[in-house]
Point group: D2
Chain length 492, copies 4
């Protein structure tokens, strides 16, 4: 089993068995080994890219100055099929597998792919024929002319409470709408197409007053439709340009009904939470693989440090944790693939998915961050030197832990779907399809009791229970995967 | 109690009560608030300083090009008494209190102070009169002409197994020795005086062949006595220049006997481990204070995020953890102050200290890293932006977790002193002076059983037990401090 | 004479003799030698400062994150009197002398002082009593609470042809005006007060439609009155933050009449052109001083490179060029001091000044750039290493050559004032007050002939003549200064 | 003629007519337009590359961490034939043409090509068969496995007076030599093979005691044969890693006789001076092309700034200067191609070449620097913004002006070959083969007079004469080229 650590494709095969996507994954991994790794290193080393706002003639252009290598790396994933395969095969799974593989090599690069997917899916689901005809084929191109998507919700007042923080105003203008406002965390700034949350003029306050719009980079007259105020200096994910984006009467198209916007927004977040979970697992795998490589080489007290019993035990436990996390993320992926086309009123299957997605987002990111921290410690002093870049994985992991909602948010959202939909019972039933899950059954009962507390106390005392729920679910779900029988005690 | 979070001096008073050092601490804190904070920010933002190796005339100078602000900040601590007070008052405690305070504001800056102390102490203890007369007054100056010290042990092969990795050779040359070798992690590179581990020519292999030398920056003829190959790009602690240092027949003076070098080296590490523990607690306090400030300001779902029950509970638990960690680090400080002048054969008190020091180094750094990670999450998206520098504390914490020995190393060294000296019983007796400690007594018994395992299994299964030992000791020791009765549930 | 090169104050005394300002200059120079030099180095090394747009609460703040050292350095000049002395003594000369001295040490730092002066002067001259009472005392403070000024004209379409490029619109709003537009090269972004060119609504097109406004940083209600879109990454002058500034219905106050704005703008430029000339001379002095220091130290072929005849001759010629340039800039300063309070219709003295100012701006910047380039060559390979920072002076010089109008612009503007006002005859008469100037007389005649050409040919053939005019004027004016008799052939 | 400015290949065809190398040049230029330009931009933006001294196992590796793009860009020139064509066609001219073209796009990248050529040529000329067989084919590979060369002479005391400054000691060791010393400006650090100046043990002092050695990167046992102390932070030429290189008993092979080393060293410099001249012309062409592009776009006072007569005249004059400079550099290239195989005693043709090479190195670099400075001014304020990178060309030009000897050095070396070999008469005769050169004849006579002065005065008064000699020679030589009839007054 340890053999698979250094190869994401190998690990996926161990965990889910052979699939029709193996050739594509194999080719893509080969590209990363031969070319991509070095590019990803140098992009991270290069830091935040430059933003050229104006050309020499004084025209606003908002060009993002990555090295050419970056664009090659970026386009490789689109060519490999991170978008077009999902539509050609009518399945999100090939996209998620490619995102897993990407994340092993460059955690941040998964973001453009994910937000592009999160743009294409609502367009396909809610767009009218004219919109779909006009924009969808551009996103599904198999060559370097492919368009990218983006999902812009958060504004300066924060990302958790969108009902209060989104102030971007949408005003109808014939078939179109005009959006005016500032998006504060706009990932994949520069994308040719975005979905953006805004508030249709005259609508209700709060979360019910939100709608989701499709927003192209260029106006009908060829001018820029949004401007980038600046790119943000993040500690990691330098493979995705995150910017502050200014909308000024920007042309946009409503998706779905204006009154159901919040549901569309949450559906968009479903995709990114699942992708974030897979990316977290892949990052943990990478960290573990790098630490293993080091521990196999470094000598102390006369033997490889891997052969020191305390460290060896840590490796075994981390590997088991990795497999559990993968099971959690993968089951969330499969469920999303089942339910993503649903519209309100949603099925129980959808609520089961939501609970699983919150647990997966929370627990895989926590595992990735802890593993990255531990991986630095395995490297000793080298772990804190920029030269060796072991520390990069912790930087990346911290972003995964925060993007798409922190642990606090996921725990509370999980509690909410439990309170409203009794989703913990749906989860238990789902897990028990693969056999008895006594630990999970025990926790389910504890949760039932917990729900009898006052609202304040339910929240105040929830964290330890929620944490155990996530961990136990992960262990239970691993049993349903082909990879379950693999032992962690292999020779290495 | 929460009120004290924003002030390290206030927190110290809460925890240990008033001391004679309060005026000095108050003045020093005031300087930090008025001037130091902004300097520390800008030094961290500036990244690794430049090293000017040659002057325009082609003469090797190895000048470290910090901004002038840096030197002001650095000298402030020396003036405040981080060295001279320890000698004037014949107590390490004022030094440790000042290091705590420094670490609240600039975690890395404690390093120069600590290694200067770690240079002055062995010089005072083992140096002959001529050496002491020549060098000690320079380290104890109360003005900006003060000399700095440094402790250089680690070479390229690693820092844990010094017996195998130190290859620097020492050759006798009359009264002096000549050292030749490369030090790979040389903190406070540029110091006027260092203690360095080397291997006297013709001595035994392994750890018994090490000796400790005093090494000035300039040779007797005024030339550079060591050169700096480069400064290392670290992820944090940018307030201390860490370099690779080249010794080439460098003039040096033996401290203690050539055959007892490893004991002197370990005594040097005693100081830095204790300082690292205090620094970790101070960093955790800072992180908690910053997170509190943010949580008091940020609004979500209609109230301050601090007033969300889940988050509030986390604050309360973290504050309790902080107080326990402080107790652990402070008791280690006090014990070191008692035993640091001992020579072999060491007393039981010394072995008790060693166990406590390993537990403190391990547990406080772990707490600091986890608190810093959590602090980033509290800040949500802002936590990963370089602009807000919340992420700095995690970078700093990771260095504290790795410097002076990682968690693995501390756990194993703690096990060793338990195996050899039954130090866990010494610890229990020490803790019970303040009253019954049932949890610690329980663990002590478990350890006794654990010691019956095979050597391999003792190490393989040690981590969870060692972890509980650290945590339980911290809780037990808190009861002995004035701060024990403070509740965490204050209004804030 | 060479002795004076290393000290701007000494050089000024040599050139203009003792003045009442000597004590202030001496103190200020001493501060630079003791503290300022190292600060200036580190600010340049630090590159473009950060701009913190938002605080943690999401409020727009536009804070410029220089190291604390920067602010100390900046305030030092204001305390020394670069603003208040001009008003207290009713003379621009102390301001110009302090600017000269500043520029020797930090070319870019003169910019904040100059633009603050350029803000205070039109306010004093054209502001009504209420405006003056409200704002002027803040600019003239002698402590660190002093306000800074700024002069914002240029927009994205360029700075030469303001009539076409200024698009900022001013709309009357009671006593105030509201300005909306973007300033592309806004030096001293962050200043508490600015003068800005804008176009009153409904006014004529072109240059006649411009007016000059006073614009505070904060609105009457305490909010930011302008925002900084970004700070510009310049190759030098890192001691002044140059930004792109966004005006959005920003509160402003009209200075002078709306129909005479262009004259006020040109009067503002008068000040900065003269300051730029002095700064160029000071920079050339600095470069020459540094090159001299190196040439006195470096040995090649058995002697100091300064003693190689070819190089020695270059030093002598450059020193002579420096003195001539100083004469040019100083006479322009003195004339401006005479005429700056004039209003239209301007006197002949004013036109004489304008010609001299164009020649000075042109020729001193050219001399500074050439000297800086030569200084790098004197240093050989060290000249291109960032470590030695010799190259900084060329970067600084290139900005001086471009700011406030390039050589092309100055040459053409000089031609214009010659064509319109026969200013070359005024110049000749002025120069001949100090004795016969045969070369200048000769050129004056050639210019008379030149004026007979077609407009196209006048411009096409003007450069060599204009260049000789500048150079010859500089030589002629040197004769009127106390420093004229100093020989360049001193021992050094 | 202006049409050719934007294409180096087009310009070469205009100037020297069609050659057999046109297809190779065309392909190479096409690669630059499609891929190379953007890579070069990003490498310059990226600054000094990282040097990874040690791998994770603690082994010294000295790996230079450029982005992968860099290596693609670098290898492209080798594949295009910058080395192998010179040997396959037994002519330096294709190499020089490719270097010209390279320099148009990336001035610094010509350095690796030039020093590789400067390594291959002495190896081919002076190496014994075993050395040639072992190393030459590796340098001439046509694929990405090609080895690179390097030429390391300069040490910390300076590069002009090698007789005094080279202190590297060479000690014989069987067939090999062992070199110990530090090279301070080691361009193309990391090259697989270098030629290095050293001082054979026991030889005479001064310049006669120097010898030239071939030095591989790896020792016979596979270990590193030299280490890189650091890479130098240069203001430009970031496409070549310049380092400080440490030789420590490094294996090396003597080239030629130990007593004739200085001649071999000068022969190496011949190649780089010619390449530097071509590179300077190419850089001036690039600057002019960029300025032209801007002047065709920018509007001021109602018309393109190119149509302003003063600026238009500058363009015409600069173009003429460019053509003259090219003639100078190209004739030097052709002469070197004739004489490079000569051994002592050298022919008159060789001395003619030397004079021409000094004049070309001097004058083309001066022209490039002045043109780059002017190009920045044409761009106005944009010229000093890092975003537009117009300023890059001045940084590059300053390095060209200093590398391989500054103007001072070239002027004095030209004077020396005139004094010793009457080379000015050889030059006149050479130029007059293409027709009468009255100006050059006039200067030749003035030089004859000049030679009657004392040694001190000859040097003291030489610069203006030497400058006119260079300029007049350039003008005279242009008449011998096909491009001579092209007028500068074309439409553009």
């Amino acid at each position: 089993m340890f053999d698979a650590l250094a190869s994401p494709h190998h690990f996926l095969r161990e965990m889910i068995g052979p699939t029709a996507h193996d050739p594509a994954l194999k080719d893509y991994e080969q590209w990363w080994e031969q070319e991509g790794r070095a590019i990803s290193d140098s992009v991270d080393r290069g830091g935040t890219p430059w933003l050229r706002m104006f050309d020499a003639a004084g025209k606003r252009v908002d060009e993002i100055l990555y090295p050419p290598d970056y664009w090659r790396m970026l386009k490789q994933g689109y060519r490999a099929g991170v978008l077009w395969r999902a539509f050609e095969q009518d399945s999100l799974l090939p996209a998620f597998l490619l995102i897993y593989l990407t994340s092993f090599y460059d955690s941040g690069l998964s973001c453009p792919y994910t937000v592009s997917l999160s743009t294409a899916l609502p367009l396909a689901k809610y767009g009218d024929d004219r919109l779909k005809e006009r924009f969808l084929p551009k996103l599904l191109r198999q060559n370097d002319e492919v368009w990218q998507g983006a999902t812009w919700m958060t504004e300066i007042k924060g990302g958790s409470d969108l009902g209060a923080s989104v102030e971007t105003l949408a005003v109808r203008d014939g078939d179109m709408w005009r959006l005016t406002g500032d998006k504060y965390f706009a990932s994949n700034a520069g994308a040719e197409l975005a979905v953006a949350a805004a508030r249709p003029q005259g609508g209700p306050l709060g979360v019910r007053g939100l709608a989701l719009y499709l927003l192209p980079r260029w106006r009908s007259d060829g001018e820029l439709n949004y401007t980038i105020r600046r790119l943000k200096d993040k500690i990691a994910t330098r493979s995705v340009p995150t910017g502050e984006v200014e909308l000024r009467e920007s042309e946009a198209y409503l998706l779905g009904g204006a009154e159901e916007g919040i549901y569309l927004i949450l559906e968009v977040l479903n995709v990114s939470r699942v992708a974030n979970s897979l990316g977290s697992v892949a990052l943990a795998q990478r960290t573990l693989a790098d630490a293993l490589g080091f521990a196999q080489t470094r000598i102390a007290f006369g033997k490889r440090i891997l052969d020191h019993p305390l460290l060896r035990r840590q490796f075994e436990e981390r590997l088991q944790g990795l497999r559990q996390c993968f099971a959690l993320a993968w089951q969330a992926s499969q469920l999303l693939n089942e339910v993503w086309k649903e519209r309100r009123p949603y099925s129980e299957r959808y609520h089961l998915f939501r609970l699983l997605a919150h647990l997966a987002k929370y627990w895989t990111a926590e595992f990735a961050a802890q593993t990255a921290k531990w991986g630095m410690e395995v490297h000793g002093g080298l772990g804190v030197l920029e030269e060796f870049r072991v520390e990069r994985w912790l930087r990346e992991a911290m972003i995964l832990a925060i993007w798409e909602g922190t642990a606090h948010r996921q725990l509370l959202d999980a509690l909410e779907v439990i309170e409203r939909k009794q989703a913990h019972h749906l989860l238990l039933a789902f897990a028990e399809q693969g056999g008895a899950c006594p630990d999970l059954r025990q926790i389910t009962q504890e949760i039932d009791q917990h729900l009898g507390l006052s609202a304040e106390q339910r929240e105040f005392r929830w964290e330890p229970l929620g944490r155990r729920l996530a961990q136990t679910t992960a262990a239970a779900l691993l049993d349903a995967l082909p990879g379950k029988h693999k032992t962690a005690q292999g020779n290495f």
